[in-house]
Symmetry: C2
Subunit: 397 residues, 2 copies
Amino acid sequence: MIFSKRITSMQQSPIRKLVPIAENAKKQGKKVYHLNIGQPDIETPTEFFEAVKSFDEKVLKYSFSQGMPELIEALIKYYKRYDMNFEHEEIVITNGGSEALLFSLIAVADHGDEVLIPEPFYTNYNGFSSAVGVNVKPITTKATEGFHLPKKEKIEELISPKTKAILLSNPGNPTGVVYTPEEIQMLASLAKEYNLFIIADEVYREFVYDNLTYTSFGNIKEIEDRVIIVDSISKRYSACGARIGSIASKNKDLIKQILKLCQGRLCVPTLEQIGAARLYSVSEDYFENVLAEYQKRRDIVYNALKEMPNVICEKPTGAFYVVAKLPVVDAEDFVIWLLKDFDIDNETVMLAPAEGFYATPGLGKDEVRIAYILNEKDLKKAMNILKIALEKYPNKK
Amino acid sequence: MIFSKRITSMQQSPIRKLVPIAENAKKQGKKVYHLNIGQPDIETPTEFFEAVKSFDEKVLKYSFSQGMPELIEALIKYYKRYDMNFEHEEIVITNGGSEALLFSLIAVADHGDEVLIPEPFYTNYNGFSSAVGVNVKPITTKATEGFHLPKKEKIEELISPKTKAILLSNPGNPTGVVYTPEEIQMLASLAKEYNLFIIADEVYREFVYDNLTYTSFGNIKEIEDRVIIVDSISKRYSACGARIGSIASKNKDLIKQILKLCQGRLCVPTLEQIGAARLYSVSEDYFENVLAEYQKRRDIVYNALKEMPNVICEKPTGAFYVVAKLPVVDAEDFVIWLLKDFDIDNETVMLAPAEGFYATPGLGKDEVRIAYILNEKDLKKAMNILKIALEKYPNKK
């Protein structure tokens, strides 16, 4: 039997394909510190579970296709804190940020159209795009420049009549970059000049360190009809398993179109929406502790990396990731070696090879993404293992 | 701003677009009996809620992309009751039957490819198809023939080199048809001869009346590598709001391909899977009462329809729908009239105009779908309202 070209050409998740090797290491009794995945260890606020458990109807009915009104209202209030004013008909609830991205792509681009994405980028952008026949044009950014954007002219060169949108995550996964207000303005002016949508994946909005100024695309009034804000409770409230995301746009017609896709899949789970509505009403100071915790972890990871010879990375300022250039020939080989052939007192560390985050062939071969999602003690241990491993690893550059 | 052609050309859900009119009627104090939607009133087994409420971890983590092993195991056991033997790597869990259908289409058809679907069909088949650029070729079936399939030659005429699959729901939504073993065999032989997949939406598998023999495509051994079984707990366990579906196929390579799509959206909600696993372990006799209840309702609706002059419908034998041909010029106009201009003691009924279930323009204009999802008393009242309304409605044929 023959499968579709679009599915056979989809790359397997570069993170998940190493999982069996890690599982094997664990079976042999090795402890593996997972710095390879974005699954935080922070406790989900208990309000989520309390809300879910308070459900007492007899029939678990369909919810509204657009999303539960209480959740939409909670989101509207949440956005107001950031000076974004959305109305009820400007928001839809989705199955995670994933579905929000998929629906946004379907709505703005036809088969054969193009979207620009700064690379390295969240691998699943690639998956969603190829599933629906949209071509990704990468805007290459570099570790040595802290993964900030190239000059406007460089980006303009990539724009064709088929370009329909710029898609980006800010703060950035996997890079941890937070784009400057000037970068955001530059992209906004490109969107205006070339009639493009901006799909702004801002699921890490709260994870910005060093009191840096964060500019959301939701605050750029002059292009508000071009901006699609993608959000999710997964990282924000450490509720990855709830799969509640959303799309917000001042372009009501766009939301009306996307609503057709929402109707097609009927609705998002009822119980999870009840929990999510409660989370979005959690008081603002919830983020203070979480942010302090992640900033501490960021410092541990960054300071450790800086002390490792020939490791290149700028200080990341957002999300909970950093991409570092290692003095190795092939980062994937290094990660496999870490799992198979290396340990300190029967402990090792797992990282995500960064090649899979690039669309341009050959880039990122010597880079890894580190997610700082472990507690202080474990993180220090893991970084120490990495340091010694880099000394011992044979295939160095 | 310009949206994609694929989204602007998507039709709005024909059922949902009448909702505002119904809401308006209710605001004016009218009681509306909803026979227009597939939301059953049957209680969700309490086991679902108990399982969800027993969750006591501190972090709501991502589940496995393929689905929670316990749920997959529960499904494997469930299928065994129907003599279908699936292995763990032959099943993935999806966000409702909806995502199962979407992923199946993406996996077997590229942009511009075709799928055959017996019409009238579940409208969202159309939505999913246009979202991913797959063209629907309808196999027209008729009320006067109880919506059974045409002869093999008729279907063969529709097959082109671009045809990749036959998609069908059995028992049928909206028709209530249960295909005969001969019809299933005929489709199987077509699949074999023309190298097609069969996407078998069998979410109503248990809803078969009059002790009829039901043949699942999962029982047709000789084409097992071509068969994709789509399932869902929504109707089976009256848990529409859980959004838990699945794909099962003996074609392991296909499942491996679909797993890439699953990885792209990371996972299905954790809590809902815990509940669903418990539901699939509910004892078989759970269905006895449910089935008896629906068969009683089917009889109420069918007997009432038979007594209405010039209403054409064959006795439906499955699911909980019937499509009836009414003596009206335009069924949508009739439904709007029911909501706006008609009542008996301030009560009226809402039906689903069937035109939206057809892909062939002009068909189904005088047909409605009736979902028998109300209790006996309400259903009798609703059918009586329909009877009198048909007498009083001015735009009759």
